[in-house]
Symmetry: C2
C-alpha cells in the first residue's frame, strides 16, 4: 500500500513529542531534589499517566536504579504480572543484554492451580516465577495479590529479586500492598502510595531503567 | 511444580475483588444519571485507573455502546493503536464472535513509512488499518497522532469505523485530539477530556463493551 505523508503542521516527529512532553513536565512539576537518573523515572511515569499526583506519590529506594541497571545488564529475567507489561516493554530491550521478559499469568498450570485454590492467577504466577528464576526484576502493575504474594515469598526466603517495581492499581489491597512493599528491607523497590498505579506507569519505570542500562 | 494455597485471610477470590471494587466505586462516585450499561463502562474505567477525575471526564456518545456491541457480535475487526491494548483485551473475546483484535504499529512497512516521513508509526498504522478493514472498532489509548489521523481519514471518507474508543494520554496533542473526537458527527465514540487516559482505561472501556456483547 502507499502511505500518505501530508501531516503538517501537526507535531508528528516522535523525538520532538518526547522533548516537548518532558519540558512541560519539568516546568509544571517545579523544583525537585531528585538525582538526574531518578528524575528520568519520575518524568516517564508522569508522561505515561499525565498525572502529577501519581508522579509525586512515587518512592524510589536509593539502591533501586543501580540494582535494576545491573540486573538488566547481566541478563537477569524480568517478570511481569500481566501481559500488558510484557508487551508494553517488549522483549528486544532485554534480549540484547541476554535477558528477557516473562509473564506466567496465562499459563495452563497457573490457571488450574488458581481455580483449584479459589485464588487469583496472579498469585500462582508469582510462585511459578520464583520457582523458575534466580532473582530478576519483578514488574507488578496490576495485581495487588501478586505483590503481596511476592513479598511473602521474599520474607520466607523463597526468592530474592534484584528489584521490584510494584505499582498495582485498584480498590482492594492495592494501597496496602504498596505500603508493605515500601517497608521491606530485603530488596530495593520502586513503588507509589495510594490506589493509583497500573501497567502503563509500571512499564514507564521499567523502560526508563532499561534506557539507563543501555547507556555506556 | 507444587503450588501453595495458604493465603487466608487476604481477599484473593477474583470475583469478590471485582464485587468489592465496584461497590466502593459506586459509593464514592455518588449519585449519577448514567444508564445501566453506561455505568458499566464508567466503573471499569475508574476500576482500571483508581481515578475518579478521569472517570468523570468520560464522554459516551448515545449510540456508542449499541454500535460497539453490534460490531463485536458481527465479527468486525478491533484495531488497537498499541500492542498493550491488543494484549490487555486479548483475542478470545472477539474470536468467539468471528472477529479479532489487530495492531499494526510494529509492522515493518509501517515502521519504514514512518521513518521516511519523519512521522509516528501510530499515524501509519491507522492508514494501514483503514486500508485493510471495513469499519470496525478503533481503540486508541496511547497516541494522539493516531487519533488525529483517524479523524482525518474519516473526514476524507476513507474509513467509517463502527465505534472509536479514543483515550490517548499525554502532553502533546492528547487533549486536543480528544476534543476533536468529541466534535465528530460521523461515528459514535467514547472519549474523555483532558490529558489523562491511556491503554489501561481504553482496554477497560473495550472490555466492558465486550462483556455486554456476550450477554444474551
Amino acid at each position: 500500500m502507499d502511505f500518505r505523508t501530508d501531516f503538517k503542521p501537526l507535531t508528528v516527529d516522535p523525538d520532538k513529542i518526547y522533548e516537548h512532553s518532558f519540558a512541560t513536565i519539568l516546568e509544571e512539576y517545579g523544583p525537585h531534589d531528585f538525582t538526574e537518573d531518578e528524575w528520568k523515572i519520575i518524568r516517564r511515569i508522569i508522561h505515561a499517566s499525565a498525572d502529577f499526583d501519581l508522579g509525586r506519590s512515587v518512592i524510589i529506594h536509593p539502591d533501586a536504579i543501580e540494582a535494576g541497571i545491573r540486573a538488566i545488564r547481566s541478563g537477569k529475567a524480568v517478570i511481569a504480572d500481566v501481559q500488558m507489561i510484557e508487551s508494553g516493554t517488549g522483549h528486544k530491550r532485554f534480549q540484547k543484554h541476554g535477558g528477557d521478559v516473562y509473564c506466567y499469568i496465562s499459563d495452563e498450570d497457573v490457571s488450574k492451580a488458581a481455580k483449584e485454590a479459589g485464588a487469583t492467577r496472579a498469585i500462582m504466577s508469582m510462585q511459578k516465577a520464583a520457582h523458575l528464576h534466580e532473582g530478576g526484576i519483578y514488574a507488578i502493575g496490576n495485581a495487588p495479590t501478586a505483590l503481596l504474594e511476592l513479598i511473602r515469598l521474599i520474607k520466607e526466603g523463597v526468592v530474592k529479586p534484584d528489584l521490584i517495581i510494584g505499582m498495582p492499581v485498584g480498590f482492594v489491597s492495592a494501597a496496602e500492598s504498596k505500603e508493605e512493599l515500601a517497608k521491606i528491607t530485603e530488596v530495593p523497590f520502586i513503588t507509589n502510595l495510594g490506589r493509583k498505579g497500573g501497567s502503563t506507569v509500571t512499564v514507564a519505570a521499567l523502560n526508563a531503567i532499561s534506557l539507563l542500562a543501555d547507556q555506556a
